[in-house]
Symmetry: C2
Subunit: 362 residues, 2 copies
């Protein structure tokens, strides 16, 4: 393969026009190519691990311009058979748990072992703020200049469903470009965990010692999704507290029903800032991959995820179109107060919506 | 109100033609009325707490005959303003946890305090077996002959969504007929818990001491739905084990995020068979009702449930109709193997289904 040294993630992400004296790969010829590449050329460049083209294609995937998305779909379909050769890791934890520092330490460890790492984000807040907190590139300084790491912020201006679709497509692109460890990170505060869980092989919950305030932000149900709990900031005065928390979580998890995968959810402590026990976390994930590959769960779960996405996509498209209809909206607005007052049953109300408007043009 | 003594639940449920010497209310006149009652007459009789008519109306609600369901809907709509004055309690636990014995002891305690109790069931297995295990009337001998208790098995031959709708409508009928404590029971093995959770005020998880085999049957996620965990069979040699399990669960729950209601999930032990600590469980539920009424959650949660049912009903109707279409089914059957092989993305596959068939007649 015709592998070129990567540009730094920082320059690619920001799209800064750097003088060629700083980066010899950033020159007029490259910029000219950007506008001209056909879908087939993009496919070839991505398979050749060209990071500039990878980045351009991601921008194309995230574009809301219909012409762009047709081309993006063509590229993705052609790359699908070349994707999948990776371990996909979901990471969640509330703000303050040290997620960025953990991903930086973990990521540096993994690239140090010769892996190529892509870090993607699903950030429910980016929809509102139009600027993802997880997209803040300055927070992973070491990783963002690592030639074997690629950091991409959460696309903004989309619904959670839209972000999920785009992120899955970006995973395909990154895998085709040779990235064999994919991290999808999110904040443990909303529905985004379910979405992340549906696109990764391994779901890691980062926690802090002490079961107090930091739990206020984590939604119920997320603990039972985790394939591992890692207690961060096990350093300095905090070590004893972290070990105590570890034994508490271990006892609690024994009361949980077993995972479908047959995997026993481990609890680990680590210090991302002191880079302690980071390899333990990585070895645990390798062990999970080995274990679930051995019992067939790994591949089956990925196939299940695809079929579920297929059905979910059809359902959400049908529903979104239906509820976007103006007449449907007007009728619902009129019915909800009556339902809340108990004057009409939700079934009769629903029936009248379907009866009057169920044949809306899809 | 013109309250007549109730017929026994047993005779009403089984529809056995008893000689009038055994039950003076079961006579020719009653049977004649059964065929002739108008919707308005049914409403009047149910409000007058006539259990025979209540039972007939439930049969009407559960009927799949369109003429019956039109009449049933009319009755339900008219009774809606008279419903809601109850505490609705969901109870789940795997087979072997002693659920029937618990409901019998708990139910007798509650009717002994002057309450009127209805026990309904949502049994995912009844769809397949066409004979609900939860409907086995012989398992609650004392309660089934209690004039202040009404036991109704899970309707059979319906999807889970259908059972949910019917059960909600039966709750309305029972409340209008003066039942002020409603129990909806299910088995902790499937999606039925989510359905039960969506129609009750309080969700109780019955467990056994020891975190071993009995957990195998409980689905992940159910523990985090519970408003209380009650460890049954705390009797004889089992008391120490039950108390130990209690302290373990208490510690585990402290690691869980708080409930939206602001309620701290308690862990209790009881012995249903020895009728020990049954009042504690009842007092706990009363305390929950008081607490959540105080902070406004109780009423708001019921309103939220109604609006959610409304949306869910529209969505599931749209989706069911779409996927029932023959052309849609054929296309999906053809696409799924390609998706699993990774030859087509689930989005492109979904898009082609919508493009070709999205205008299917609804």
């Amino acid at each position: 393969m015709n592998e070129k040294p990567f540009k730094s993630a920082l320059s690619v992400q920001e799209g800064i026009k750097q003088p060629s004296s700083v980066n010899p790969y950033w020159n007029k010829q490259d910029r000219k190519k950007k506008a001209e590449l056909t879908a087939d050329q993009m496919v070839g460049k991505i398979l050749a691990q060209d990071r500039t083209v990878l980045s351009q294609t991601i921008t194309l995937v995230e574009s809301t311009n219909p012409a762009h998305s047709t081309k993006a779909q063509e590229v993705i379909e052609k790359l699908l058979p070349h994707s999948g050769n990776s371990i996909r890791i979901g990471i969640t934890g509330v703000p303050g748990v040290g997620k960025s520092t953990f991903i930086e330490s973990f990521g540096k460890h993994v690239t140090g072992l010769g892996h190529k790492l892509a870090v993607l984000a699903i950030d429910p807040s980016s929809e509102r703020s139009n600027g993802s907190i997880l997209g803040d590139k300055t927070r992973m300084e070491e990783l963002s200049t690592d030639p074997n790491a690629f950091i991409r912020p959460s696309p903004s201006g989309l619904t959670l469903g839209g972000v999920a679709q785009k992120t899955r497509e970006v995973i395909t692109l990154c895998e085709a470009a040779g990235f064999d460890v994919i991290i999808v990170e999110t904040v443990g505060v909303g529905q985004s965990e379910t979405v992340v869980k549906s696109m990764v092989d391994f779901f890691l919950l980062l926690m802090l010692a002490g079961a107090g305030d930091e739990l206020q932000g984590i939604k119920r149900g997320i603990m039972e999704m985790a394939d591992a709990i890692v207690i961060n900031k096990a350093d300095g005065d905090n070590i004893d507290k972290a070990n105590f928390a570890k034994s508490q979580y271990q006892a609690a998890l024994r009361l949980f029903p077993p995972c479908e995968s047959g995997w026993n959810v481990p609890v680990k402590t680590c210090s991302a800032i002191e880079k302690k026990n980071i390899d333990e976390v990585w070895q645990m994930i390798r062990k999970y991959q080995e274990f679930t590959t051995g019992n067939g769960y790994f591949g089956n779960y990925r196939k299940q995820q695809l079929v579920k996405i297929f059905y979910d996509w059809i359902e959400s498209t049908l529903i979104t179109r239906f509820f976007a209809d103006e007449n449907v909206q007007a009728k619902i607005t009129q019915l909800i107060p009556e339902i809340k007052k108990g004057n009409i049953s939700p079934y009769v109300a629903g029936g009248s919506v379907i009866k009057d408007l169920g044949n809306v043009e899809m």
